[in-house]
Symmetry: D2
Subunit: 430 residues, 4 copies
Amino acid sequence: MLRKKDYVALTPPMGWNSWDCYAATVNEEQLLGNAKYMEKYLKQHGWEYVVCDIQWSEPMAGTGVSEYRNFAHLTLDEFSRQIPAENRFPSSKNGVGFKAIADQIHDMGLKFGIHIMRGIPRQAVHARTKIKGTSVTADQIALFGSISRWNGDMYGVDYTKPGAQEYYNSLFELYAEWGVDYVKVDDICNTNMYPHDPYSAEKEIEMIRHAIDNSGRQMALSLSPGPAVIEKAWHMEQNANLWRITDDFWDKWELLKAMFERCEVWQKHVTPGCWPDCDMLPLGKIGMGFHQGRWTNFTKDEQRTMMTLWSIFRSPLMMGGEMRDNDEWTLSLLTNDEVLRLLKHSFDATQLKRDDNEAVWVSEDEDGARYIALFNLSDKQLTVEADLSELELKTVSVRDLWEHKDLGKAEGTVSALLPAHGSVLYRLEK
Amino acid sequence: MLRKKDYVALTPPMGWNSWDCYAATVNEEQLLGNAKYMEKYLKQHGWEYVVCDIQWSEPMAGTGVSEYRNFAHLTLDEFSRQIPAENRFPSSKNGVGFKAIADQIHDMGLKFGIHIMRGIPRQAVHARTKIKGTSVTADQIALFGSISRWNGDMYGVDYTKPGAQEYYNSLFELYAEWGVDYVKVDDICNTNMYPHDPYSAEKEIEMIRHAIDNSGRQMALSLSPGPAVIEKAWHMEQNANLWRITDDFWDKWELLKAMFERCEVWQKHVTPGCWPDCDMLPLGKIGMGFHQGRWTNFTKDEQRTMMTLWSIFRSPLMMGGEMRDNDEWTLSLLTNDEVLRLLKHSFDATQLKRDDNEAVWVSEDEDGARYIALFNLSDKQLTVEADLSELELKTVSVRDLWEHKDLGKAEGTVSALLPAHGSVLYRLEK
Amino acid sequence: MLRKKDYVALTPPMGWNSWDCYAATVNEEQLLGNAKYMEKYLKQHGWEYVVCDIQWSEPMAGTGVSEYRNFAHLTLDEFSRQIPAENRFPSSKNGVGFKAIADQIHDMGLKFGIHIMRGIPRQAVHARTKIKGTSVTADQIALFGSISRWNGDMYGVDYTKPGAQEYYNSLFELYAEWGVDYVKVDDICNTNMYPHDPYSAEKEIEMIRHAIDNSGRQMALSLSPGPAVIEKAWHMEQNANLWRITDDFWDKWELLKAMFERCEVWQKHVTPGCWPDCDMLPLGKIGMGFHQGRWTNFTKDEQRTMMTLWSIFRSPLMMGGEMRDNDEWTLSLLTNDEVLRLLKHSFDATQLKRDDNEAVWVSEDEDGARYIALFNLSDKQLTVEADLSELELKTVSVRDLWEHKDLGKAEGTVSALLPAHGSVLYRLEK
Amino acid sequence: MLRKKDYVALTPPMGWNSWDCYAATVNEEQLLGNAKYMEKYLKQHGWEYVVCDIQWSEPMAGTGVSEYRNFAHLTLDEFSRQIPAENRFPSSKNGVGFKAIADQIHDMGLKFGIHIMRGIPRQAVHARTKIKGTSVTADQIALFGSISRWNGDMYGVDYTKPGAQEYYNSLFELYAEWGVDYVKVDDICNTNMYPHDPYSAEKEIEMIRHAIDNSGRQMALSLSPGPAVIEKAWHMEQNANLWRITDDFWDKWELLKAMFERCEVWQKHVTPGCWPDCDMLPLGKIGMGFHQGRWTNFTKDEQRTMMTLWSIFRSPLMMGGEMRDNDEWTLSLLTNDEVLRLLKHSFDATQLKRDDNEAVWVSEDEDGARYIALFNLSDKQLTVEADLSELELKTVSVRDLWEHKDLGKAEGTVSALLPAHGSVLYRLEK
């Protein structure tokens, strides 16, 4: 059964997000440069979203020691709404906002996404700025104690107050005018940082859902950061299209290994319009926004393992690296159509087994084929094997999707000798 | 994808369990009496299991102030295994065990189930009784600190010890000889009674799975008590057929209302062979085993609400009352084939909405029809309504399944004026 | 061993605090009116402090539905410091601040105290106001996430930042200029509202200690709210003179009964300069600041029980009611010199026994006498008894301090038949 | 104020305990051998207790891989009471029990102590052994779920059951007959291993207190393991003489460093008859009972630091090493009368400061002198200094107690250049 909000994301969104490479500092040139790269190299493989991550309204973002400057001056309009910092996004001047950038991205046949923080700017609250279409001011809808532990820009919004829904409506009206296709809302997915903290962002999620529906424009709704709480899965399925099932993911093996557990927990919740999200792909050139530009720390085996898990699980795929710096290997990971086919055409991914050393996942294709991914989670070479009888299969022909090679018939079992942290992804046909 | 262990329960088990009426005191006459009732009145409606609940090896069970007598003398065989108390189950004498009862129940075309506690009798441990087919004694496989807080009969079994798997194998070999079709294992589903308690029964669940597979007989595996932990859903799906998603359920409205939240959480995990379990139905005459025989406290509206939720969610259905005391109303709840059809032929039950006052669930039938259940969770009369567009429907013909009545066409919405705690279950056809 | 900071409070502070009667709304007339009452009726019995509680810098305080108005406009000076709201404290105009009020109170032979919240006004932070004697602005020393859950006026101060200590120094310099003798710092004593919340106000307590020492004026330091954490007792003893061992105390028996447990825990920590604080005495006319002026809900027996416990435990005594409305009974509770003597001259108070029905406390006088308090904690009349041998006594003469009556000799035991929630306080001499 | 139970331990107990060297395996020869050593070398310095630690009733103790053998056969008498294993304590034969050993130790002018576990042997429970002087059997007073996580020998005793107090009385009658002077009760001091575990051993502590009082013999009562919960300090002060404020202490610097925090918390609770206990001294030759005999891992500096902290804090001192293997250095630590004087004659030990690098403690002597201990907690050489004005002193003469050296006058401050983990203990006179 599909909900109305599901149609905007019937398959997992695929795109690029500025965070892993540019953190809080991304600018117009970087955004459009990556869009053009996507148009040229990735679009034909199914990639479409270009997403501008956090702090785009702050002129000085990234000039401090950490990502966020305390009590930074944000660029706001008269209605308490953040607008792009002109020094970083020159085309946004004169009230244009993100419209000019969105138009260019649309002209490339791509889609445009932005990041926002839950809530209303503290700056607007203490300046008692107006809320559009109301007689209310920002301080009248803000919750003084509902506060992010990692970014001091915003207060939460108190849904019981007149003007609260109107505030969120005014945001998404603006985003609709700009032509935004995708909104990543932050500090909203897992807000229970401390046990017994009574605060919940549930009502803010619902206000945002209503604001999108009210805006008249289809926008995919992505919730961060995770880990999302599985007990609240239904609420997220009702309201959002993607939600992070992990805290920020980076290029460390222990985080990649931990994702298998996260996927185990969420596997039954992967359905059209509802995408548990393993977070961005820290591939290629990353970290420039953290004063520490580097090539991904993942080995090639680990990179394939990540792509394999994200693909068979059907996580959203958001490339995190500066794509214009991609080498051939990195590009090859993003353009393997046999692998990417799983995003669009596979279903019912299921973990067959998992322990500290290995994992096996299987799924099905709409055309009747089966997929199997064998993972070596240990730090040594290992043969990973799966019993075909568990798939109700006996003899199958096996194709290695990463290598584009037919491996012939397998009977009874499929197996592979895998390097440490390595994997294979096979397509099985009777 | 079906696992081998799923085939024994492709639809949710339906049957009778002795706990709600006889607690720890059930005997042969009561067991067979209810089996005969089932054969005569319920079998043709899909009911098949007759399950003997806890303490069947204790001759004096039920003679104390609480259900369990501390350090009770259990009847054990030479291999540390509990066998039926002869005074309560006369046909079990001379090593017959439950075989004679199982045979009679099979002859009625029904199936036979038993309850066991996780672990090995403390009595056997302190007497250092043998484990069958090994040179090991009970004390050598017992975990002295893995202990139930509510029943002192058993120690947990330490899977790292030689003889541990053999002990469980010896149990299920015996049950296979007896002809047991269903085993409810207790003190195993949610063992983390206290935060940070490192004990987990996961390994014991796995040993039991292996023991069933090793026994050569198909037996449905039911895990208790709940609430099961949703993060461990995959592990349960790998190993069991039913698991309790709630602590003991009784005839109190607050428990019934709370079940809607439990079903919300588990709705994606209801699949052939894997049945999140809302617990027994405390209908008709119950409580005799607690020195407090009574008619169910549920109103008729609440009884229908319970049956409606259990049916559309596809919980296992285990009648808890003494069936020979059923009145016409109670029997009618258990024999409405239009409702019970959902257990066998519906799928993809989804909660459409829920708040403190109302809930709406929908599902589909294999024949293309849709189901919708409207629930009034408030304490006042209320009209509950659902928007058909959320089901991608416009005009439907509506049939009331409890009342066996066609209600004509509905356009745009379906709704019902419901008494406090009341509900309707409709079949919708285009 | 006495610390330097102990000398300002060698015996438990006794005074009046505006909170219980006027909450956030107290004004100059009320403050001085109660001071005059104290001068006339209480001073000769040892009472000396007149304390102005929270929100004195907010002109509109108390005009909202709850005590605190979100994002209220506070009256600040050019250095981010709160100064009294002129409409409520007319003598504070033209930069006089609280000096004129303090002077008048000093002229009465009394002492003057004020309340402050931990931290720096958010208003100053978002206006980027200066910190006195530095080139730093308020936003540069504020901790955006260290935030009270119950009052949104302040951010915590980050002790690692240049200007942080200078800010607190500038506050206490101002208070010294005003002639403040006592500072009650709020939102600082127990800041770990949620388990695992890493925030601790320890460093802010230390900055305030340094600021007082730096100010050149002796001021008693009181920390709120409680319950203080007993594991941190040493830190409080190092830095403060009073600290609340309870959350806000009001005129409800269950709160009074619970105080016995709090006193049990803290009894070893009552020493000169270090006073675990049972909170204000909600006696007489209270609640006007909460739109609900009322006479105390405590019965006379409960009032004596409270006074007896506070006195033998040697809690600070802060009258909470509007004293000008005192009746004779209330005044008599505050002027019984035989009872109040314990505040100044008793020591080593020890709980002799406590259960759900009764409690017994004993202590010693500098003159060699002993005290014993017998409490009936039950809801029925009860005889409470104590064994004199536990005090290494045999025969004693007994004086009832509340009734000013000699009761003659007691041998072996002392006892009293007490009404529900009642108590006696006896002086014992050999 | 002294309680009756305080007189048995007016100063902190000093002695030897078998655990650190012999764990569960100690025997008669080792016990008496160490007693003779104490008589000869330590008695004149105030040492008096010889304590036999855990598992003395188990013939095979120490033959397993870990200290405790699961479901071991204990030697019990007809009344469910453990008696010494004859193979390990030959003089205990023929019902003599520990009397012969106690007599010999008494003849040396020393005192004898034993260890027991809280509760009643599971072995007695499952054999339904009698309770002395009652018609009750062991299973009738046992709590099946009140169970140690680290030793499976015992069930807790349910104080609500007839026979419970009589059981404990029968134990301590036996110990009185044997001539026991000191009982270390284990698994009783901190039993809340998991948050929200409702079990508390409070009632068992009270039953033991009553049983000692009832026995007619003075016995010091020591409670283990820790960390004791400071909120329950009063209850322990009412009932016991020593209680462990730490989990098991061993020869690792991080444990020694952590003890400073424990002492900080408990410093106000050190009074005659009531001794917060820092645990045994792992000095000299230890670990033989763990299959790993070794010389203490503590450096000499660390050993002095430990002795200094224990002495100024006035922890009980229980030597843990095999004393017959003492070298001269180790013996010197145990026989420095100037240091040991603090155990008997100092009072009011107070922590003056503590951070991650240093700690300073001070106390007073009955003769008017002051003590100061300076500790270097860092891993580098460091000068630690204290301001004499904080002691209300100006000029003092300083004596180094470990070195027996007068250091001359100090004015304003005392200080010492200390090696990593090192310390000094000074006596100060005006």
